[in-house]
């Protein structure tokens, strides 16, 4: 019998991974409740190298403004130019309002006009036909790209109806999971929705070590993982390193509950983002560990160090770094 919380959690993790072994996200079909498309699904060929699947968090494309769905073709172009066929798409690139207007950042909630803007966003979410999201998905699929994760940042300004609708939206987009920058208290509210929809939510961390409600440490993730078998982790390797955690050790311990890693290189002790290879994030070791163990953890580039070059150029540079690591 487990003698402490961590041992218990490890047993639970193994149980969730299932009798058939570790859950292989790469082999999973899009969610069964997807609206039916006629004909075969034109799935993108994954950017699979040495057994690893690479993708991009669309936040990396900093030149594309949020809250303007007419910019969607530019995201497709950027992904094609970078040669990366799958993504975690942020809600601000799908919905007609920026992420900031949906309440994740507490500071933003204090700005004039926030309450009205938030209400409008809620109304839009609750009334937009699901075909809207299906059409977004079709645009990706038409050019051989794929939305793998929907990044929506749940927080206490969401109503239950909005939480429920967000799961529907993720499924309509063809995502296999939601990735969410959220907090532990909000994760508790999500349990019934994840279980109702039988849909995974992966908690994404930052590196705020002061607020115990934030995802920033192994312990904070463990709390969420214990709440529901549908809860997973989007491990932001840069933020985790900046929070002085042992990123590689966490990956080794919890790989079965990690949907994807965000690859970024940061210095320890809340240090800055750096080009790949210049920070303290053990990117090389992370990639090789995933590769050598054949874990189905998807590897997503998140470009956030500054540069005068275009975001596409920098995402390609990050990809090149990863390529050199895994095919060496």
């Amino acid at each position: 019998m487990p003698t402490d919380r961590r041992s218990f959690l490890m047993m639970a993790t193994v149980a969730v991974a299932g009798a058939g072994g570790v859950r292989d996200w790469a082999q999973e079909a899009p969610h069964g409740a997807l609206p039916v498309l006629k004909g075969p699904l034109p799935m993108a060929t994954p950017r699979r190298m040495a057994g690893l699947n690479f993708g991009v968090e669309t936040f990396s494309f900093h030149d594309i403004p949020q809250g303007d769905p007419t910019q969607l073709p530019r995201i497709l172009e950027h992904m094609q130019q970078a040669g990366i066929p799958e993504c975690e798409i942020m809600s601000g690139h799908v919905e007609p309002f920026a992420n900031a207007l949906t309440g994740w950042w507490v500071q933003t909630r204090k700005t004039p006009g926030f309450t009205e803007a938030r209400e409008k966003a809620r109304e839009w979410r609750l009334t937009v036909p699901m075909d809207y999201y299906v059409n977004v998905r079709k645009k990706f699929e038409a050019v051989g790209l794929r939305i793998y994760y929907y990044n929506i940042n749940f927080n206490e300004t969401f109503t239950d109806a909005e939480r429920d609708r967000s799961f529907e939206a993720a499924k309509a987009l063809g995502a296999v999971a939601i990735s969410s920058s959220t907090v532990i208290s909000e994760a508790q509210r999500l349990v019934p929705f994840a279980e109702k929809h039988k849909f995974a939510v992966a908690m994404h961390n930052h590196n705020n070590l002061v607020d115990p409600d934030q995802f920033a440490t192994p312990e904070s993730f463990e709390k969420a993982l214990a709440m529901s078998p549908y809860f997973y982790v989007t491990l932001d390797t840069g933020h985790f390193t900046a929070g002085n955690n042992d990123t590689l050790a966490f990956l080794k311990q919890y790989h079965a509950r990690i949907t994807n890693v965000h690859l970024r290189d940061r210095k320890k002790d809340n240090g800055p983002n750096r080009p790949f290879g210049f920070g303290d994030t053990p990117i090389k070791e992370i990639l090789l560990t995933i590769r050598d163990n054949k874990w189905p953890v998807r590897c997503y580039i998140e470009y956030e160090y500054g540069s005068f070059r275009t975001s596409v150029d920098e995402v390609k540079a990050c990809m090149e770094y990863c390529t050199n690591v895994v095919v060496a």
Binding site: A100, H206, N208, V210, D211, D269, G271, G306, S311
Partner: protein, 218 residues
Amino acid sequence: MLRLLMGALLCVGACAVAQTAAPAHDAGGYAAPTAKLEHGRKIFVESSCHFCHGVDLTGALMGAADLMHDPLVGADNDGNFIGPVVLAGLPNLQTAMPKFPELTKSDISDLAGYVHYLRQQGRFKELTASTATGDVAAGKTYFAGSGGCSGCHTEADMRAAAKKYDRTSLRAHLLLPTGLAPKDGVANDAGDAAHRKLVENIAPADAANVSAYLETLR
């Protein structure tokens, strides 16, 4: 005669180039007008400040401070307030601001100078775009009191300016008499520096009020 004509044509050609050549632009915004400011831009971009605070200080993301209107930036002189925040970061924020301890005093000075430069550009645009009609009495009080204008300017000076410019130009002139672009460093002289500080900090209502007051001096 031919030489004169050639000279005139060359001059016209040069002017056309000067008018049509767009300022250099890249993922970090427009090139800055001086070497010091351009170095500040390099630090601003390579430290990825622009991802959260906006390339031109507009559209702050991720709960980041609105540097265009933040009073701490307005009060800053040569990085004395900006520097400590940049060097130590803000680890308590929901999405923590990273620290940049490797920046030197000179780097901080240039970075702060660039932030002020962006703020002056943005606030100047905001203030001159406003069509609000000001309160004459409040403008007179501001001119003689809290605005500190009367420390350098007399009513007679301002009457001359008021007669020279129309309403829109007068607003622009009272904010930055020497124009928007600094020649050397971040300000041309002490008077220009004072006006740049004014542009960064004056409330839109005060700008409209002073403008209304000056118009009555014509």
